[in-house]
Amino acid sequence: MQPKLKRLLAWVFLGGLAAGLVAGMAGFGVGYLSASRPEVAERIAVFEVIGFGLFGLIGAVVGLWVSIYWMRAIDEAAREAHKAAWFWGGAGALLFGLPLLLIATLPQTATWSLPDWFYGRSDPIAHAALGAGGLLVLMLAGYTVAWGWWWFRRR
């Protein structure tokens, strides 16, 4: 692996640790406020949502920047592997969501309930998050398999 990619991985790791630390401290602060001064915690609740949104947005921008840097640094075969993995694995895995989508259109499924895998919640937002997360897992799994297969075929 190129030294600059190793450096990038080290920075991503340290950045992840720093972000985790900041998120942990913020969570601790909010938790402490909720326990000691619930009226203040209630007033700043909306800022928690904004803060989490911003945190996620910054993470997405950083992730995109890292991806661009990574794709520019790797060689053409490695880039080709990622492109193939995205098309065949990522987009291909999306097709496996199709049966679920079709089944969901039937009235028979109206009474079905989803598992409460999203922090034990079963509200509409949790269900939406579960769907988005499930799709992400499906696409990442497909991506990984296709990427591995691409290199396996060219070993």
Binding site: M1, I74, D75, E76, A77, A78, E80, W151, R153, R154, R155
Partner: protein, 62 residues
Amino acid sequence: MNNRLKVLRAERDWSQAHLAELLGVSRQTVNALETGRYDPSLPLAFKIARVFEQPIESIFSE
């Protein structure tokens, strides 16, 4: 597409890692090129030709 990369590299007693360094690619990519399972882009093909000091058509064939 066929190529003579492995032969040319062996003639020079270079390792895959050394050739990869000269070409600015990974060793895995050199391996994929040598086994004919990956066809290089035109810029990489020109680079390979420069490294081996041979015309492209003498390295790659259909």
